[in-house]
Symmetry: C2
Subunit: 354 residues, 2 copies
C-alpha cells in the first residue's frame, strides 16, 4: 500500500509531528466551549477580544512545547502568527463550532465556517486541515449521510490543495440520557471503533484520525472509586478490557490516529494517552486537559500567564512524556517506515504532472 | 509603513529565517551550473539521476544547518521532501535555468519553468517563491521590460497565493568583455545598487532581495594581491569604498536583503557576508560557496558525503557565524521590530475578507 505520498501531504505530516514522528499537538481552536468557560468566569457574554486574548496568552506560553498547534481562523490565527515558533506546525479548523440538532432523539449535523475555505487556509500557511464532526454510526440515514458527505467534501479539497486531512470524530448519546453516565460509557468503545472503521475508508481521504478515547476511564474498575473526581461509580469494564478496546481502535484505524482530550482533567488524559500509545496511537491533539485551568484566572492576564508558565507547561511536558511510546505515524498502516517513504511519482516528469 | 503583513507572507518569512530573524539559507536549486560541474567531473553528459543524487546527498548532509533550503521542482524537491528537517523552511525556484540571449551586445531574457506554476509550488508546501532574473539597468528597453514584467507577474502571483517573494537579481556584462575583469568589477557596485532600487518598488511585490555582493573583492585593494586565488590584480577600490557600496545597497533596498555567493570560494564569501551584514543585510542564501567542492568526488557517493559532513558542515557553520551580526529581517525597512508586526486587517472579519 501507499509508501508514497504526495509532496504537500508528506511535508505537512512531517511538520505536524515531532522529529521522531510522534504527534504532540495542542488544540486552541475552541470557540463555543471556550465562550461558555469565559461566560462562567466573567459573569457576562465574552466579547471577541476576550476570546482573542485568552487564545493569545495560551498560544504564547504553550506553543513552544507542541509539535503543532491547531487554531481557528476567527479568533485564533490572525492574532497568533508571530507566536508560533518556526518549528511548530500549523493546523487550521474548518468546521463551524457546535452542530445543529435534528430529529428526536437529536442527531447532529455539522457545517463549515461560512466565508472561510480550505483554499484560504492553505493560502494562509496551514500545514494541515482539521475537521471536527459529531458522528453516531446509528444516526438516522439523512444526518449520517450529511456528516459523511461533509468529510468526503473536505477530504477531496485536501487532496486538491495537497494538505494532510486530520478528521476529529466525536460521538454523542442517542438512546442514553447524557454522555456522562454508565450507559454511554458502555457504548463508547463500539462508537469509537466503528467510527474509526468508517472514516478509514479511502473515499474520505483522511490522513490522521483524531479520536475519542474508546472508554470512559471514570467507569473503569481500576479508577471508578473516584480516582479522578472523587465520585465513586460502578464499573463498566476493567483495564484489560479497555486495553482491548484500544487495540480494536488501532485495528479499525487504517491511518495514523491520535487521542483527543474532550476536556477531561490532566490525570485522566495522561492515562488515556499512555494506553492509546501502547495500542498504536501516534500521539495526541489536546487542548483543555492541558490549559483549561488557566481560563479561570481571566481577565487577570498576569495570573493566566503565571499558571500557564508553571502548571500549563508541566501538564504539557507530562503529556509529551506520555506520548513517548506512541507509534511514529510513518510506522502505522498504511505506512511501514520513514526510509521507504517517497513522493508519489517522483521522477523527471513529477513537476509537469503534479 | 507596513508593520502589517498578510498571514501567509508573515508565517513564510518566519519559516525562512532563524529564530532571531536572520536568513541562513542554502541554495541547491542549481541546474545548468551543476550540469556543467558534473559534466567536467564525469567526462560525459550527466543524466537526470546524477543531478538528483548530488542534490540529495548535499541536502541530506547540509539542510540541518540551514534556516531554509531553496531547491528546484525538477531534480530537487520531489526527491528531498523527507530530507528537510521540520524546522527548515522551503523555497522553490520558479525560473527556467539559464536565460535567452537577445541582441548584440546580448541582453538576457528569463522565463518560468514550463509546466510548473506558483500555484503548484504552494500546493507542494513551499514557504516562499524564488525567482532569479539576469538584469542590467541599461539593457535595451525590450529585454529590460520583459524582465521587469516577469518580476511583476511572479510578484502578483505571490500576492495571490500569499507567499513571500524572494527575488534574485544577477547582473551581466554588456560593454565589458566578461564578468571577471576590472571593468566589470568597477561597474558592479552601481549595477547592484540600481537593481536593488528598481526592484524595491512596491509594484513588484518583492519581500526579500537576493543580491550580488556590490563589489568584486578580488579587485579590492586589501585582497587584490591574490588573497583568494593566488592571482595578483590591480585594485579597483579599497575596503572603505566597498563598505560604502554596501551601505548604498542597503539604502537602495527598501525590503530585507540577503547576499548570494555566485560560486566564489568560501573565504571570499565569508568576507562578503560580514561586510554586507555590517551594512544591514539580513543574511545569505548561498549554494556553491558552501558545497561546490563536494561535487568533485561524484560519483563516489561516500567520498561526497565524507566531504560534506566535514568541510561542508564547517563551511556552513562559518557562514552562519558570519551572518550573526546580520540585521533581523523584521528590523529592516519597511519593518521596525517583531513586537509591532501584525497580520494585516486582523479582527473579527479577517477570515471573511482574507
Amino acid at each position: 500500500m501507499p509508501q508514497a505520498l504526495t509532496a504537500g501531504k508528506l511535508l505537512g505530516l512531517q511538520r505536524l509531528a515531532n522529529a521522531d514522528g510522534r504527534f504532540q499537538m495542542m488544540a486552541i481552536d475552541q470557540r463555543g466551549s471556550l465562550q461558555k468557560m469565559l461566560e462562567a468566569v466573567l459573569n457576562r457574554s465574552p466579547e471577541y477580544d476576550d476570546l482573542v486574548q485568552v487564545k493569545t496568552l495560551i498560544t504564547a506560553s504553550l506553543a513552544p512545547y507542541a509539535s503543532a498547534v491547531l487554531t481557528d481562523p476567527v479568533y485564533g490565527y490572525p492574532h497568533s502568527v508571530t507566536l508560533l515558533p518556526r518549528d511548530v506546525g500549523l493546523l487550521l479548523a474548518a468546521e463551524e463550532s457546535g452542530a445543529e440538532q435534528v430529529g428526536d432523539p437529536p442527531d447532529r449535523v455539522s457545517s463549515l465556517i461560512a466565508d472561510w475555505t480550505v483554499e484560504k487556509a492553505v493560502r494562509a500557511g496551514a500545514d494541515a486541515i482539521k475537521l471536527l464532526i459529531y458522528y453516531h454510526p446509528d444516526a438516522r440515514p439523512e444526518p449520517r449521510r450529511h456528516q459523511q458527505d461533509l468529510v468526503r467534501q473536505v477530504g477531496e479539497l485536501c487532496v486538491r490543495y495537497d494538505r494532510p486531512f486530520l478528521l476529529e470524530v466525536v460521538s454523542y448519546p442517542r438512546e442514553e440520557t447524557d454522555n456522562k453516565g454508565i450507559e454511554f460509557a458502555r457504548r463508547k468503545p463500539s462508537l469509537v471503533i466503528r467510527s474509526a472503521e468508517e472514516f478509514s475508508k479511502p473515499e474520505y481521504h483522511v490522513d490522521v484520525l483524531k479520536l475519542e478515547f474508546p472508554a470512559n476511564l471514570k467507569f473503569c474498575r481500576e479508577y471508578c472509586n473516584g480516582a479522578f473526581d472523587g465520585v465513586a461509580r460502578e464499573p463498566a469494564y476493567d483495564l484489560k478490557q479497555v486495553q482491548e478496546f484500544c487495540n480494536a481502535v488501532d485495528e479499525a484505524a487504517q491511518v495514523p490516529w491520535v487521542i483527543l482530550s474532550a476536556g477531561v482533567d490532566i490525570a485522566e488524559f495522561l492515562i488515556a494517552v499512555e494506553l492509546a500509545a501502547a495500542s498504536g496511537a501516534s500521539g495526541f491533539l489536546c487542548g483543555r486537559a492541558i490549559w483549561k485551568d488557566a481560563v479561570e484566572f481571566y481577565p487577570d492576564e498576569e495570573a493566566v500567564t503565571e499558571w500557564l508558565e508553571t502548571e500549563g507547561v508541566y501538564n504539557f511536558l507530562r503529556a509529551n512524556a506520555a506520548a513517548e511510546n506512541a507509534l511514529p505515524w510513518f510506522e502505522h498502516p498504511p505506512f511501514e517506515d520513514l526510509e521507504s517513504l517517497t513522493v508519489a511519482d517522483a521522477g523527471p516528469d513529477w513537476y509537469r504532472n503534479y
